[in-house]
């Protein structure tokens, strides 16, 4: 957005101004709950934070966390309390034999804030995942800047996928830090006979001899929908042509997401 406005403002540079808006209405705060569960988890974490009004220009990041809530998770039989870890402000509990995350099972979460606000949600862990060794990977290049990867797996698996490609620079630019590509989403018609095709821009992949890592999330609908809608919400903040779009939450009484997923890591060396 800034770029386009900037160009136009520059055109009328002697006769334009950009001013901060005062007097915005102070929309009441909302609570935001994020919690994602996976059968491979050993530690379950939930984050309870605040969505604040634009009338509030500055706020300490640390103060965005709600630290005095009571959060519990239930698998229908047992209930576990998540306890605040003051080091990172996450509410956590360690997975044990009597309460673990299992495929096909439905879990619910409840957060009660000190002021009495209650947030609830539930999610079901996808019944079937894909094993890493079941995935066939095909990769090819277009020019020196694009790579296509095609992932295939046996049929009748869950229908929501989130793909997060990362790459590592090598050579003189190497900092051993992964750089993420655009997150991609696949569901329904995007998946052709249990195959997804992803392509992404790598900026001279061949000459830089990069290592690519692709994380494939096999997700439940909550995780998928929230991830996709928040990416769109974020991207549209920089798109002067798009109408604003809200994220799609599955938290009753607030914002955020309670979702389930499996992760599959694929190392692709070129």
């Amino acid at each position: 957005m800034t770029k386009y406005i900037g160009i136009i403002v520059l055109l009328f540079s002697f006769n334009s101004c950009i001013e901060e808006i005062d007097g915005l209405s102070n929309t009441p705060e909302e609570l935001v709950l994020h919690c994602y569960i996976s059968p491979s988890d050993t530690l379950i974490s939930a984050v309870l934070s605040r969505a604040t009004s634009f009338a509030m220009n500055e706020i300490k990041f640390n103060d965005l966390f709600v630290k005095d809530a009571h959060i519990t998770m239930s698998d229908g039989n047992l209930e576990k309390q998540l306890v605040l870890n003051p080091k990172n402000n996450f509410y956590e509990f360690k997975v044990s034999n009597d309460f673990k995350i299992e495929k096909g099972k439905t879990y619910s979460i409840k957060a009660v804030a000190k002021d009495g606000k209650v947030l609830t949600s539930s999610c079901t862990v996808p019944l079937k995942s894909i094993k890493q060794e079941e995935i066939e990977v095909e990769k090819s290049f277009r020019g020196s800047d694009f790579v296509d990867i095609r992932l295939k797996w046996p049929s009748n698996r869950t229908s929501f996928y989130v793909l997060r490609p990362y790459f590592y620079y090598s050579g003189i630019r190497s900092k051993n830090l992964p750089t993420s590509h655009t997150i991609q989403f696949f569901s329904g018609a995007d998946i052709e006979s249990d195959k997804i095709t992803s392509n992404y821009f790598t900026n001279d992949l061949i000459n830089n001899q990069r290592r690519n890592i692709v994380f494939l999330y096999v997700a439940d609908e909550n995780f998928y929908t929230y991830s996709k809608s928040t990416e769109l919400n974020s991207n549209n903040q920089d798109d002067p042509f798009a109408q604003p779009v809200n994220a799609k939450h599955n938290i009753n009484g607030g914002f955020g997401c309670f979702g389930a997923y499996y992760t599959i890591r694929l190392d692709l060396d070129f």
Binding site: M1, T2, I5, G6, I8, V9, L10, L11, F12, N15, S16, C17, E19, E20, I21, L24, T27, E29, E30, H34, Y36, S40, S45, S49, R50, A51, T52, F54, M56, N57, E58, I59, K60, F61, N62, L64, F90, R142, G143, D145, Y166, P178, N199, F201, S229, E231, N233, S234, N236, Q237, D239, P240, F241, A242, Q243, P244, V245, Y261, T263, R265
Partner: protein, 786 residues
Amino acid sequence: MKWIVVAPVVFFSFINSLFGQNITISGFVREQGSRESIAGAIIFNADLKIASHTNAYGFYSLTVSRADTIDLQVSLMGYQTLLINVAARKDYKMDVSMAPLSLELETVTITSSEQEKKSLSPKISTINVPIQHLKDSPSLLGEKDILKAIQLLPGVQSGTEGSNGLFVRGGGSDQNLILMDEAKVYNFSHLFGFFSIFNGDALKCLEFIKGGFPARYGGRLSSVLDVQMKEGNKSATHGEVGVGLISSRITLEGPLKKDKSSYIISARRSYPDLLLSLAKTPSGASLKSNFYDVNAKVNFELNKNNRLFFSTYLGKDNLFERVNKKGDEYRNMGFSWGNKTGTLRWNHLFSPKVFSNMSVIYSNFNYELENTIGSSSQIYSSRLNELSLKYDFDYLPNAKHDIRFGINLSRLNFVPNSAAFKEDGVPDRQEIERVNAFDGAIYVEDIYTPTSKVVINYGLRLAMFAPSQKTYTFVEPRLAINYNFIKNWSVKGAYSVMNQPIQLLTNNGLGLSVDVWVPSTPKIPPQNSRQFTFGLTRDFTEKKFSIELEVYSKRMKNILSFRDGASILSLVSLFRDRDFTSARILWEDLSTYGVGNSRGLELFIHKKTGKLTGWTSYTLSKTIYQFQELNSGQRFFPIQDRRHQLSMVGGYQHSKRVKFSANFVLKTGNPVTLPKLSYDKFNIDPFTNRPTASLAVIDYGNQRNDSRTPIYNRLDLSMQLIKQKKRGQRTWEFGFYNIMGSKNVFSYEVNINGKFNENKEYIRTKTINAASLMLFIPSISYSFKF
């Protein structure tokens, strides 16, 4: 081809025999000196109280009872009224020359003709503003822009500050049929939409219709802007040169063969790139932006019954941002867009009562977005071509009927998406999708005057649109009635059904001309509207002004919009990623359609002659849209909804040498969706499997466009100093756009950032900024007419 001539002759001879022993006086009305044909002139017989109007080509035909002689009055505002005594024993062909009124004569003439009164015209929701008045009104940076003036008419809303968006009676920006010499213009913007493609020097007249549409027009829901280019002076060579802050222009016109044929060519070239090259963006990029356009026309009077015209428009805009990096690497971002039109017309007089015009019309619009990094380029483009054949007849059997009918056949070729990639200068172009469509219509309408107090324009338009796999057919009845119940007073009513099978996939953003024209498809139905209009008109003949009060109700169906969150950049990003499979289907999947309802009251006080000319308009309106897939199915105000708009446009001719003009606009702000809350999204870090703050999410509340920008107000002033020189007339114009420096909001910008404070605590910061453009823009321009 012989049937084209023979069939109408036989048909009209038969019809003529049905009407008794009358005689017909017909001919062309032209301007004295230049011999330009004059549209809208009135030929009136006071004894019989019958009248005829010249059509767009200056042709008139008046059928009266046989008599020895008959007195005719020929009049039009801005011209000296003529009184002519004509022998009326047999059909008589009479061409008339009208002399333009000088300022002195104009101010002493009380009234030119009773028949020019708006209370006698069958036209409703139709505005004719002399081009000169539009040219005289103050303008942004001194660029004369007729569209800016049209935005000040009642019922018309602009887009963002300074832009050329045209939203008429609650309709979308694509619902306007813009015709330049009959060719459809698909994009009328120059330089981000701040200026229009219409060069006032090349234009003769315009008519703007927003309701009570005659059957000869179709294909758009909300308005018709019919612009006629000048034909060129048939007597002597003349010209005009102008130098302004944004562009320079030159116009030349003259005879090819004296009194028989003429030409006009008018060209503009902007030079903001020269100014911008002095400035750099914060990223160090240099900007270039420019536009040019050329209007040209020739016409030949082959003989008394045949005339030929060829007119063309060519225009293009370019915007480039270039970032130089170290070494040979550079980034280059740019986009360009342009229109091309061409119209070949043949006027033929079958008889004194039958005028025909056949046109072959070509229109093209295309744009291209190019992104270059190093030696690689990605180019995204979209284009639309239209080739049409029109054949229109104007048949005036007697003084009570003016029957018009015709046929229009068009072949459209859409390429909504096209991509090309260049590696080391070698292009690899992929046309993602091409849609061909056939568009056809036949119409008939009659302007019927049963008594001297009643005029009815009724008609029917049958149209079809056939893209591949689907054929849509439309039946469009049209009706407009004028009842002159007391002298100088009339009530009017109109009903029209309109359909629009071609639509613009657009985001209501900055109007950067990157919108995509798409056809209706089996998935995307054509837009449709039904509009009722009622009006009351009062002429004040002595004070030379009129007042029109109209109310309207318009229901629109199948209005096209992007789905929530989608935008034109969604398409572009797919091309960037070379995801052609998705792109092929994407524009249909990104779109959704809904309904709209607009109601309003409009007041228009118009003074066309005298020392003080101009208008005051006030609009009270409410527009609501509802889409099943937008705003959770709830109703919302679209960006063109404004409750109140007051516009005042005035020109004052102080003397022969000094002219003042002013515009004032005061209106409700436009609806906007402002952020309400924001929060940090926590994601799972795939490397650590722990939550991590990943991005800022904004919540916009539950209602789209629930806020409004502040009240908009603007005052523009200009002064012209005119001097007659030996070789011509020079004019200096000094203008001030937004002289009060009102901070009218152009757009909002949201910033969410982070920083560390002095205690090394991470602080989340967020602001909403309002960008205001054009706070006080002075301008100076010079022109010389010879």
